[in-house]
Amino acid sequence: MSLLQNLMLKRFTADSYPTRWTTALAAVTLSLGLLTIGGAFLYAPTDAIQGDVQRIFYIHAPMAICCYLAGAVVALAGLLYLATRNLFWDVIARCSAEIAVLFTTLVLITGSLWGKPVWGTWWAWDARLTTTLILWFIYVGYLMLRSYLGEAERAARYSVLVGVLGALDIPLVHVSVEWWRTLHPEGIIDSATGSPALPGSMLAVFLLGCLTMLCMYMLLMLVRVRLDLLHDQVAEMEERSLSEAEAVALPAQGVLGRARPLRSPGNSP
């Protein structure tokens, strides 16, 4: 068991949930979230073309960035698992995949809610939207594969491949707006000049949104990883108590077996 894993288990099983760190991070995330909402509605200027609905950008784009981050963590932790065979990295990978599904789902939903008033449609088979949907399917597939494979080490080994596939799709999602002609607007960094293509006030709220979503990702990871480690601990204890019970029951069965005559199903009256 790694040092980090020991620390997390010790902290959690000390019967003190929610721990100080989790509570502090939750408070910071909530405060930043309120600031982002305030900034998006009150501070950032209204977009001249799209109007107020453009303010969805301040949660949509930061969530998309966190989705990239979650995907990168899935692949990196998976590869670390393969290198070290430490199941803690696998816990990190599977928790991050679940959170990647949550973020990608929200990106697709908020994108649709933005697309309807601006493009006049909920969905278009546009390069950015399609590659993002593929990313969503990859992470849902990752979680399904794990649940079908069952056994922890086998599931960990095979799912690394899907995690890496997801990580390969991330750059494709990012550059899709430059490679293909799409409805989706280009990124906030101007590819020609390399500087942000946003006015200062919009950029400030966007960066605040990114910080909020980063804290949200860390908070979700913190609680989700703890849950998985705790589940593993419960499973281990259950297995141990079951083997102890079997060890006690087996001699007793042996005594009973000698006392009672064996009867095959064919001889039963």
Binding site: F12, T13, D15, Y17, P18, A26, G33, I37, A40, G51, D52, V53, R55, I56, I59, H60, M63, L102, T105, L106, I109, T110, L113, W114, K116, P117, M216, L219, L220, V223, R224, R226, L227, L230, H231, Q233, V234, M237, E238, R240, S241, E244
Partner: protein, 59 residues
């Protein structure tokens, strides 16, 4: 314009509600798993230190 604001509010509400719902579910599962773990720990402690025969357990 009002319809646009509706989309905007729904987007923010859906996002934050999803995060809170996920956190709530995980927290519930954490509490339940914590209880299960404590029960198993108590069980293993009591099996490791059984009461002597003939002595009634303490209330």
């Amino acid at each position: 314009m009002q319809q646009d604001l509706g989309f905007l509010f729904v987007a923010f509400a859906v996002t934050w509600l999803a995060f809170f719902a996920y956190l709530f579910l995980i927290q519930r599962m954490l509490v339940d798993t914590g209880k299960r773990l404590r029960a198993l720990q108590l069980q293993s402690l009591s099996s490791a230190h059984p009461q002597p025969q003939g002595v009634p357990p303490k209330e």
